[in-house]
Each structure stands twice: as C-alpha cells, then as structure tokens.
Subunit: 470 residues, 2 copies
C-alpha cells in the first residue's frame, strides 16, 4: 500500500547496508572518531537503558550484587591463564604511557574482567561461608575488532559481565544455566520479543579459558545467526591461576569453581536485525523509549495533542508530542516510522472535529484507524500489549520457517546459505567444522534432542545448528 | 557509653587514616592493581547506585537525555582547545598500541569528554531548532593522579558528565545554574544529607577551558573542604574549536554556547567524610542499600526475624536478615555499625517472649529501645525519616560552627587551620591566593553577600570561602 520510496537500502538486496541505514536514519548511533568505536545517540541509548533495567532486575533476583572493577588491568594478569591470554592478545588495547611517563608495566584496557576479578575473589573468599560469591558489573570493554560493525562488533562496547565463585562444579553449572534461561532468555524473549535458541558451544567456539560456553542465538532478518548472550563455566581454570581457594566445612582447603556471563549493546543490534523492516526500525513496546507519539498535524491541534499525551502518560505509557507544525507532516510521519515508535496518533483539525484521532500501528503494517477520544487510552494500551506479543510471534514463525533439518554437512552448507540448518552433530565432528568454516559457516550451538543443554563435550545424539553469522 | 575499642584509627587524631579504615572495614572499596585505581565493592556500589538513580531522575527532569560517547579520544582532539589541553595533558593515559600494532595516532583514555562530544554536537546541530541540545552520559574517566585517594581522587572514577549547547550565553548560564541548584545541590542536600556552599570558582581554580566554574563545597568531619560537583560555562571556546554552529531564526550562522557539568564517585567519599564517626560509616537512609538489618540473636529467632523483615519490606524499606547465628553476636553488631546501617533490629528469645524487638538507631548514637512487634514497622519508618533530616541538621550545625568570619588573608590562614574562613574577596586578590597556596589553602568559592552567584570575574563585594581541601 505504501508508495513512498524508502530512504533505506533494500533490505532484501543488501541487508548489511540496510542495517547501517536504519542506524543512521533512526538516529541510533554514529561511528566514533577512533576506528571501530561507537557513539550511542540518545534514542539508541534510551533503548539500551530500558533493556539494562530489565536485565539488571533479573540479575539481582538471582542473588548477584553489582560492583565495579578497574578498566585498566596489569598486562601480567592476563598471562596467568594460558588459553585466556592466547584468545585475547590479538584484541588488546594497551596503555603504555600515563601521567607523562612510560609505565613500568603496561596496562591493558579490559577486554573482559575474569583476571582482575579473579584476583579480588581470591582476597575476599576465605571460607565456604563466603560462597557462592555472585558479582556483576555494568561497564565498557575494549576489543580491537578487525571488522567493526555498529552495535554488533565495536571496538568499545557496553555490557554487563557477571563473575561468580562456587563451592562445587554442580553449583556453578546450575547458576550459569539459571542466568542463561531466567535472565538472558527471559529478557530476550519477554522484553526484546526475540526468540532464541539455547545451546552449548562446540570446543572450538568456546570462550578463551572456559570449559563450557552456553549461548543464545537469534535469527536475523536475512537468516543469519547472531549470538545474543553467553554464559561460561570456567571450571577451576581461573581459580587455579588466581588462587581462589576456601576452607571447606570440614577444614580442607579447596579451589573454587568460577563462572562468567555477559550480554552487550549487541542486543540492540539484534533488535534492529530481527524486527526492522523496509520502513525502518520496529521497537518492541517494552524497550521503546517512545511508545506513543502524538503528532499534531496543525497548530490548532497542538493543545489537544498535549492533553491526549498527558492522559496516555497517566496510564503509564511513554509518550512524546510532536508539535513541529512548521515542518512537513509527511516527513515527520516518516521519521517516526524510521524510529519504529509502536503507536503514532495523528491529530488533525478534522479528527478533532469528529472527537476522534487517527491511530497508526507501526508494528502492524502501519494500519490506520479512527478511534474515539474516549476510547483512545484503552485502545492504545491494548494495542501496545498486543504488539509486543505479535512481534515475538512473527519472529518465531520466521525462525521456524527458515531452519531446515538435514543429514549431512554438505546439505547443511547448502541449506545455511539462506537460513539455518539443523543436523546430527555426530555427522559433523572436527572435520565437519573445518568444512563449515571454509563455507563461512559455524556450528552455532548444540542441543539434546529434547532441546536441553548437553553437559560434557562427548555426549552423543546432539543436534547442531549451523548458520552464517554476524 | 560505648566500651568496645574501635577497630578504626582515631578520627580526631588521624582523619585520613580513619577514612581509609572505614572504607576497608565497611567493605566499600579496595585499591585496584594499577596504581590509583579502585575496586568498588558491592556495599559501596549499592550506595552509588541509589545516588545515581536520584541524580539521573533529576537530570532527566531538566530535559537532558542520556547518550554514550567513546572512551578513546584521538590525541589531536584535545589539542584543539588550548587551555583544555594544557590543563589535562599531565593527567592523560595514552593507548599507543592496539590489536598488536602501534596506532597511527595515539588515543587518550577520556579524562572528560568535551572534545569528542563537541565534535558530534557540530554534526548534530544545524539550526536554532536543534538547540538547546542537552546531553548527559554515565561513564568512567581516567586522570593520572599524583596523590590518589580512594573515592576522592582515583585514577579511574565513575561519573556523569553533562554537555549542552545553547543559542545564547544567557540560556547556557541559566541551564548550568539550574543543574547546580536543582540537580546537584538537591541530591546532595535531600539525598546525601550533606549541606553544601554554592559559589563561583576564582579564575585560577577554574576548569580548563571554561569561562566560569560553579561549585558545591562540603565540609568534612575534620573541617576541610571537599568539592562535590561542578558545572561550567564554556562560553564559545569549544564551539569555536569544534565549529558548533547553527543557523539562527533570521538565517545568520552563529556559534553556539556550551556547558559541561560533572559529579563523581567522589560524592561517596564525601558521604563518608561528612557523616562517618568513630564507630564507622553512617549512611543516610535515602542512599542506604540496607536501611534496616534484622539480626537474629539465636537460631530460634531466625524465623521470626524473616517475618519481621518481610513486613518491613512490604512497607517499602530495604531490609536484610542477619541469620549468621554461628558467629558471635557482638561481632555481627559491630560489623553493621561499621557499615552504618541506619536501623538494627535485634531479636533474641527474650525479646520474642515479650512480643517485642530491640531497635538500635545507628544515626542517633546507637540508642536502644524495646519496641512492641505491633508498632515495629511504623516506628522504624518514622525513625528512618527522622534520621535523614537529623543527619542533615547535624552536618549543617557543624558546618556553621566551623566557619569563621575574618577580615584579612592572614586571619584566614589562621582560621582555616581548623575549619573554614570567610572574608571579603576584595581583601584577597591574586596575591592573597598565592599566600593561601603557600599555606596549603585555596579560595573554595565566591558568593555575593546574599549567597547568590556572581556572574563576572570582577564583581566587587564578594565573600570568599577559604579552606584546606581534599
């Protein structure tokens, strides 16, 4: 029905370019001056704040407390865990000079904080009574990316990183699994309206220093995979490297079992890639900085627009009034569509004369309806709730439709050219992973037949999800 | 009345050592591994989170939006504003290597973000319609400190930094003044219960690149001054350096007027230094992560303690149950006193038998009273409110008592050895400021006779507040 030419690159023809365009036109972010860095603009940051709040509440509900550890880590700390330093060395940013002098020991800008937090856990944990120790921090981190992309892979990103120490492997595993499901998946599904597949990473895709990495993978609009959050069992690797020990109930000195888990500003990239369409972003109401915009078409409707906005705000909605009547109506409407604001209420003199307003539902194909002013608040509140659920259902349906079940690696390579493939992991193995890498694909994760998470590296009968990824 | 020997250094004899001891014993923070950095532990971070929330709400109420700008700034950006680079150069931490290579242009870790934000303001501001542009960010910043001190002066600190652009000098001044009073002073007084003196900095104490710095100064327990927050008029200095221009209503190209304003984790240091006593921290209820601790004296009172805690929580209080009955009661009580939790409810078998609990009010000299269980919630809620007000009154009385009005610089030097001095600024001048510097003192700020803020540098009849400072 729409006839306006899109200001965005064609989503079907050039998805990455469309993604960039949405970020620019919806004023979500800009490239920073140092290569690969990002400026998160107010509208993008507003989404992040709401997401952060939802995540933070759930993290605290698991018993973890927020803390803050230093940005700068002595280079020697990273070297204490062999796999960890090997994994992160190529990505480090290093401070060599400070206060006008060369530093005796260079400091790395944290790529992640296992090492420095390990050092303090060792100080704070003495007895079994101090366990579990459940910490989280909201912070920035820096990893020098070869192919940076706004939100998805930036040299500096914002995230939460959780770090915990436990008295047993079982307790550690139970806790990170809870983080994966009750925190990460809950936020992604319930708040971001993004369906995710939960699974275990293969050995080669694991976090540097972990004995197990669990992941949540989302399907983007172009059928690729995006890793949305991970939680790691670190075994006793970091406990050994940093001497995180405790006296057990029977007076024995034991090493702790640690975990880490992180989710980043990449989730905002996921939101764009999963929900965006040719008209721009579509923001799930739960993280929409503006859930409703009331657009005054003419000067004489500005006052009424303000009254309507106040009513909607009283009902607990996040509302903005667009009173820029000196600017063309059409351009303003298109801008709100680009920004993906769920509900646009257009208020012209004719609407007002009829005691009604025009409600445009961005998440429902921009369908328009005249709604009586008396029913406006209840109609909008119901639409918001319905839109959140519908957005999830839409994404889930697409995901299901684009996962092809196959039997062999070659079939997987073919199927994953346009979506995901699922196949028996026994048919993949190390060699199969090499073959997939050649085709620019990876095993995104492994699941048991019933969808649950495998525990060891050698469980048989697992399903592998294969895809290209961002 | 207390007979326990303090685990803290004598506050009267060695205030700085007492400060360090409180931070350690109350588990607020630790020194980080890189010199001058800080680990904020969960209890200290809990205070910061509540403070941040109160500040953030008020910042948004002024119309500012949160955003996020990169940590790493090209070295050349700082050099564009002459005073700014001169002021910050000695404190910069510099990333020279990243991704395994030497960078073509070194990047500094932001000491503050005027320069990088100026660059983006120039892109985003085109017309008078885009002004004012009101931005804020919550972030970390790094300044290499020669004499670091936990919370007060750390190499890395957490803060909010606001940056705004306006169409006129008047609008810029009105806005930063509003930030000073309605945001900073409101939070300090109403939330932190810290009385502050608002004033203008002298030319030599000004922020590097500003035409005017306004400050809020608190008096510490040992009678020194602590700068709690500042807001700056930057004039057109940064607008000129970064070309932040706009088309005015009548089509002329004009330079914008910018401001910046910041408040940091130093405020937590202020809280300790203003309210702490020989028994440890005293946390104002508004920022107390734990407002009430219910301490079960024996195993048989744990269940009742949990019920009481649940009741208090339902009343909207932040409550913790201490059920560590395997540890000595006295040590647990002392620990809660060190942490400065406003209300401690002790529940022993005898209390329970009498249908009452013992309420200990930390902020009122740890006065104890038996309170019937039926009145417990209302009594505690009233005490919390009363304590917040009383803490402010106590600090205000001390501040008033320790400011001495004098006439000459020499009298000021004498008076400020044990408190603050106030004197006519006309009696100080440049030479007087040199003399004060020799005595380890500074003019903290200037006020008009009626307590309001002077506008220019050359207003006569101003009052100067002189003090030693942290």
């Amino acid at each position: 029905m729409k006839t306006t030419r899109s200001v965005l690159a064609d989503q079907a023809a050039d998805f990455p370019r469309w993604f960039q365009d949405v970020i620019a036109k919806a004023e979500l972010a800009d490239n920073g001056p140092v290569r690969g860095t990002m400026v998160v603009r107010p509208y993008g940051y507003g989404i992040w704040e709401l997401l952060q709040e939802a995540m933070n509440r759930r993290i605290k509900a698991t018993g973890a407390a927020n803390a803050y550890f230093p940005l700068l880590i002595p280079e020697s700390y990273l070297q204490r865990e062999a796999e960890h330093v090997e994994g992160f060395s190529p990505e480090l940013a290093v401070v060599t000079h400070a206060g006008g002098k060369q530093l005796e020991e260079p400091a790395v800008v944290r790529p992640t904080s296992e090492t420095v937090i390990g050092e303090y856990m060792a100080k704070w944990v003495q007895s079994y009574r101090d366990l579990p120790l459940l910490l989280n921090q909201w912070a920035n981190a820096v990893r020098w990316e070869l192919r940076p992309r706004l939100f998805l892979r930036t040299t500096e990103f914002l995230w939460q990183e959780g770090h915990t120490a436990h008295a047993s492997a079982e307790d550690a595993r139970a806790y990170v699994t809870r983080i994966l499901y009750d925190v990460y998946r809950a936020v992604m599904v319930d708040i971001l309206a993004i369906p995710v597949v939960a699974g275990r990473k293969t050995r080669r895709e694991r976090f540097a220093g972990a004995i197990n990495t669990m992941t949540l993978e989302a399907m983007t609009g172009d059928g690729k995979a995006l890793q949305m959050g991970t939680s790691h069992e670190l075994g006793q690797n970091f406990a050994r490297a940093f001497d995180i020990g405790y006296l057990s109930r029977d007076g024995q000195r034991e090493l702790a079992w640690t975990t880490s888990w992180g989710s980043t500003t990449r989730m905002v990239g996921g939101l764009i890639m999963v929900h965006g369409d040719q008209d721009g972003l579509r923001v799930p109401p739960a993280v929409a900085p503006v859930q409703v915009v009331v657009l005054a078409v003419k000067d004489e409707t500005v006052e009424a627009a303000r009254r309507i906005a106040a009513d909607l705000e009283s009902a607990g909605l996040r509302v903005t009034v667009d009173d820029r009547t000196d600017q063309p109506f059409g351009r303003r409407a298109v801008n709100w569509e680009l920004k993906g604001v769920p509900i646009r209420i257009e208020l012209g003199p004719r609407d007002l004369a009829g005691d009604s307003a025009t409600v445009v539902r961005r998440l429902r194909g921009s369908a328009k309806a005249a709604v009586g002013l008396a029913e406006l608040t209840s109609t909008v509140a119901a639409a918001i709730e319905d839109d959140q659920a519908n957005l999830l259902a839409e994404a889930a349906a697409r995901q299901a439709a684009r996962i092809t079940t196959v039997r062999t690696v070659e079939e997987a390579v073919e199927a994953a050219a346009a979506g995901w493939a699922s196949l028996p992991y026994d048919a993949v193995g190390e060699e199969g992973e090499d073959r997939l890498a050649e085709a620019g694909m990876t095993v995104r994760c492994l699941q048991r037949q019933d969808g649950s998470l495998p525990i060891g590296d050698n469980e048989p009968d697992l399903t592998a999800y294969v895809a290209r990824s961002y």
